[in-house]
Amino acid sequence: MMNNLVVLPLLIPLLAGLIMAMFRKNIPFHRWFSLFSFSLTFAVSLYLIHQVSIGGIQILELGGWPAPFGIVLVVDMLSALLLTTTSFVGIACILFAFKSIGEEREQFYFYPLFQFLITGVNGSFLTGDLFNLFVCFEVMLISSYVLLSLGGTRIQFRETIKYVVINSLSSTLFLVAVAYLYASVGTLNIAHLSIRVAEAGQTGFMTTIAILFLTVFSLKAALFLFFWLPGSYSAAPTAIAAVFGALLTKVGIYAIFRMFYLVFYHQPEITHALMGVMAALTMLLGGIGAVAHWDIRNILAYNVIIGVGFIVSGLAVFTYVALIGVIYYIIHDMVMKALLFLLGGTMIRIVGTSKLKEMSGLIRNHPLLGWLFFIAAFSLAGVPPLSGFIGKILIIQEGLAKGAANAGFYWLAAIGLLSSLMIIYSLMKIFINGFWGETFLTRNMEKGSTKGLLLPCVLLTTVGILWGVGAEIFYPVIEQAAKSMLNPNFYIEAVLREVV
């Protein structure tokens, strides 16, 4: 099923970024063109969802070379959903950046870099080939290095160095793992890998390679190996931190998802159990970090870590229903994390500091901001009928059901519940300290205005609420995504129809 639309979510941001970089001085053009590019990508992704729901998995063999030899791009329902969410989050963050990023950054290619970042993210979701996954990771990472250091404040440079070093290390390990895998099974096409690994059997050696991949993707996704995340995400400007928090870690999770559901799914008692342990530790440590800190940026960064832990705990449960929960939750998490960072950034902008102890009573002058934050906090904690609820209940319910056979899953479910409490505690701490209490700041004393900043937040909140309330409507789509992830044969048949 040759379909040129498949490549568009990758091409549109790439072309837009290039065209913008040609006209460096024309900032208004940059702004509107990036908005246009993401809207177009959003529309194409929606259409791809429609096509996948009717015609099954869509593929594109670049240059017409058939699958295991040439490069393929594959869109199944999960990729299509993630692509759509990515471009939506992109729109919101760009809208926020209009008023907040500052002219200096805009002149040094902020908008083109943002486009290249999304190119990398979309490419990672699209590719059906492990080496291209590496390439798309690099496209994404290199843009993120520049975006993180753009502006050149002292703290940014310090954190960027750490971020670059840790990511270069993990990219090297990625390449090593890819080389091992290629040496042992002789292919890098994900569908072909799935067949070969199933034929050869997932021996101890294969499982070792799988764990090497898990290490690499955990570094990218901030699963257990998250020590680099709080520093670097809190150093970036709000719009950039929001897009990092919402998208970059999810790309790592998506890679874990693909590898451990399509290729290395033969020994869940080792690989998935390890994922479960890592997820539990991530939730606990992230939760402790979120509860302990008194700085908005740090609390939000640790909330990203808890979210990653929770999603991976759902992957570790490894049942059909849990998978549906994971897909509900991952999309909820992308939207809500972006919202949370944007709201936190708006608060910091108003008060001029990110220290909770120095702010108070914002709700008097900013009621909308306050209530949006309240909704976001409850949504992340999983209060029904908001968007986090369905994902959480499905994952925890399946964990408890599996606990009868293996007591470890009771622990996982318990820690999942505990992490929700930690999320709500840490976010309510921001709400109580920031919005309640005596209002120190009159409107004239505020450091920055919220003009135009609340529009993207309202957009994200609306989608978040719809995702929770309308969960029933989205169910068929999610179901299709979960089915195709749990049956590698769907994917294999779509990609390798000529060989198999």
Partner: protein, 146 residues
Amino acid sequence: MKTNDVILQTVTKVATFIILTFSVYLFLAGHHNPGGGFIGGLVVASAITLLFLAYDVKTVRAGLPPVDFKILAIAGVLLAVITGMGSFVFGKPFLSHAFGELDLPFFGNTEFATSVIFDVGVALAVFGTALSIIYTISEDMCIWRR
């Protein structure tokens, strides 16, 4: 301190032409044999770098057309991507290429391929990127010496 680099400068004058000719050969050979846009572009960049070393950046820059190397690189990538998108018009997958043969009066039976346009894009991108890196570093050096 003024260094005496007569030999370097004299050799460079000749060598640059050889390198540039070789780069064209590499570029065209790349269609069927080792070579291609990437290496071709890199070799052109190395020729210009040699000029930078033998003379100084300002003189050489004045001799080259006043194009920003960054713009050149961007134009290269754009050209490559748009060539790839040409296949959309014919309903073929992205990056599909076509070729045909034509009897030219002097060259005889010559093969023409759309992938050459793609390769020109690659060459421009590599050339532009390599030179803008070198140019940026050399600007930094001037600041240090001051």
